[in-house]
């Protein structure tokens, strides 16, 4: 044999480590992170700090603002604007539920039934993005116009009686009612629901459906026990991607609603940009942030999935 060999299990000699990863190489990730993280710290975290400080300031635009630890601003803001808060959560929640209800069949259709039409359907879901969402939201003014065909049909069929009983519409109008705002919200954020749903549905092996059928499950049972549970990651991230932006939105309420449908976003916007009451606006913004973050955290915990990113 031409192989020399030391005893294979030679007692480990206490040789010092002779090689160490060079300091320069260990610093590489930090250099990569530095610019982007710095950007986020300065323009995302720091503003939140400034906002926190603004929210406990008192003063006026003329005399300037000063930190006085005036936490009462929070209480005042809440007592004055709690209807807008509740309305925001209600509208955003309703829109999210509607998105799930409307989006699921379409995502399911694209994932399992579309065959060679799949790519076309996907493009059609994404395509509306390319027209500015403000223009598309304005189009709903035309669609839901008073006396227009949509409203006429809804009126004749009796839908408007139901929604008006629910407090969603008033008389034979849809525009400037909660229904119009929720319609706009649902429309605007629907693709954010459909895409994650599609992604998680598409990962499901169609043979699982056959297996469930083989094991005596009716189609409806298969859906409840197999398909829907497996699509949970998509449901969770879809609902979050819909609820979070919807809760802070003020565009739909402004363009399609009336003064009775003002959401918290509208209040923050006008406090900041028109009333110029910065402390109140900052406090409201903070409360909204807290509510959303708490809701999201609780929701993620309960849904038991964390792979959203």
């Amino acid at each position: 044999m031409t192989v020399t060999e030391a005893p294979p299990t030679s007692p480990a000699p206490a040789r010092p480590p002779v090689h160490r990863t060079s300091v320069r190489r260990r610093l590489v990730p930090y250099w990569l992170l530095l610019p982007g993280v710095l950007w986020l710290v300065v323009f995302f975290v720091l503003p939140l700090v400034y906002q926190a400080s603004t929210s406990v300031q008192t003063g006026s635009l003329e005399q300037g603002f000063e930190v006085t630890w005036h936490f009462a601003t929070y209480w005042d803001a809440l007592t004055e604007y709690y209807p807008q808060f509740l309305r925001s959560l209600l509208y955003a929640g309703t829109a999210t539920a509607l998105c799930l209800l409307l989006g699921y069949p379409l995502a399911y259709l694209i994932a399992f039934k579309a065959g060679r039409w799949r790519n076309l359907l996907l493009v059609l879901v994404i395509a509306p993005f390319f027209t500015s969402f403000l223009i598309r939201t304005l189009a709903w003014k035309t669609i839901l116009a008073d006396g227009g065909p949509v409203v006429e049909v809804l009126n004749t069929v009796g839908v408007l009686d139901v929604t008006s009983w629910l407090g969603m519409t008033a008389g034979d109008r849809v525009l400037a009612t909660p229904l119009a705002v929720v319609t706009g919200l649902t429309y605007n954020f629907l693709p954010f629901m459909i895409l994650p749903l599609y992604t998680s549905l598409e990962r499901i092996d169609p043979r699982l459906h056959e297996a469930a059928g083989d094991l005596y499950a009716k189609p409806s049972t298969t859906f409840r026990k197999v398909t829907f549970p497996l699509s949970m990651p998509g449901v969770v991230s879809g609902t979050l991607l819909t609820f979070i932006p919807a809760s802070g939105d003020y565009v739909n309420a402004q363009l399609l609603g009336s003064t009775d449908t003002r959401m918290i976003g509208n209040v923050i916007q006008s406090q900041f940009l028109r009333v110029l009451d910065y402390p109140t606006a900052a406090a409201l913004s903070f409360i909204l942030m807290a509510v959303v973050l708490i809701t999201v955290t609780v929701y993620i915990r309960r849904a038991g999935t964390e792979d959203l990113v």
């Binding site: 323009f43 069949p105 913004s285």
Partner: protein
């Protein structure tokens, strides 16, 4: 009845699709309208006036150019910064990982109005002049996270052995990055960049807070919703839509042809 039950999913799905597409159709149709008053909400008569003179409204095309410029620069900034973070997160091990991940996730988990308002407090406190630069800074900030997510997904699915293979085959660190890592991560980077461009171009809420008197295209549309909506808005909306669909379709054709050429049989 049986047929209806069996195709319930298809019917419901197509109805949803109609709901999604309907506003785009309205926008397109009304780009050929000749409205009576200042607002283009009710149909009156067919006209191609707006298409023949898309810039015929004061400030409209200026705002469009500005939006395109901001979107371009914000895309470049966010893509470079975001891709760097994504590479660091996937390829290296370091201590503050969890913190960085939360820092990336938070801007996406926050209502836009909160970011918009807090950024405005920062600019007001610093006495910064609101305009092009503040918009650009804001857009780069909120696009960053989306780029990180898109690039990270791609780099994560990339076999680290490919980079090892390059190093094994005499490529130094720089060559390895340029010849292997970057080309393979390119689709992820491109996806992130496209997303960033779309988000920036179409952003309204953050811009609304931080633009001062500068008018981007969405700001123009917002203002016109109060003052009167020119038909030209619809023209531009429709043109953007058509252009994007053409690009997507063109890309699809190119990929298909390439795939065919690669398989000579």
């Amino acid at each position: 009845m049986q047929w209806l039950r069996r195709n319930l999913v298809v019917i419901a799905g197509l109805l949803t699709l109609a709901y999604l597409i309907l506003p785009n159709i309205i926008v397109m149709v009304f780009s050929f309208n000749k409205p009576a008053g200042r607002f283009n909400y009710a149909w009156r008569e067919f006209s191609t006036d707006a298409w023949r003179d898309p810039c015929g409204v004061a400030d409209l095309c200026g705002s469009l150019t500005l939006s395109l410029q901001i979107a371009l620069w914000a895309t470049i900034g966010a893509t470079v910064l975001g891709a760097m973070i994504a590479f660091a997160l996937v390829r290296y091990r370091f201590r503050v990982r969890g913190t960085i991940n939360s820092l990336i996730f938070l801007p996406m988990a926050m209502p836009e109005v909160v970011m918009a308002a807090s950024l405005l407090t920062l600019f007001l406190n610093l006495g910064a002049e609101l305009g092009f630069w503040t918009i650009l800074i804001a857009h780069t900030m909120f696009c960053l996270s989306f780029v990180v997510v898109a690039v990270k997904a791609r780099v994560m699915s990339m076999d680290p052995r490919l980079e090892e293979a390059a190093r094994d085959l005499y490529a130094g660190p720089v060559q390895t990055f340029l010849r292997v890592t970057l080309p393979i991560a390119a689709p992820g980077i491109a996806a992130g960049a496209m997303l960033a461009f779309a988000l920036s171009f179409d952003d309204f809420i953050i811009t609304n807070f931080n633009s001062g008197n500068t008018v981007t295209f969405p700001m123009f549309v917002w203002g016109s919703a109060q003052r009167g909506t020119p038909v030209q808005i619809n023209v531009i909306g429709t043109a953007m839509f058509a252009l994007a669909v053409l690009i997507v379709a063109g890309g699809q054709i190119v990929t298909n042809r390439r795939r065919k050429r690669a398989l000579p049989q």
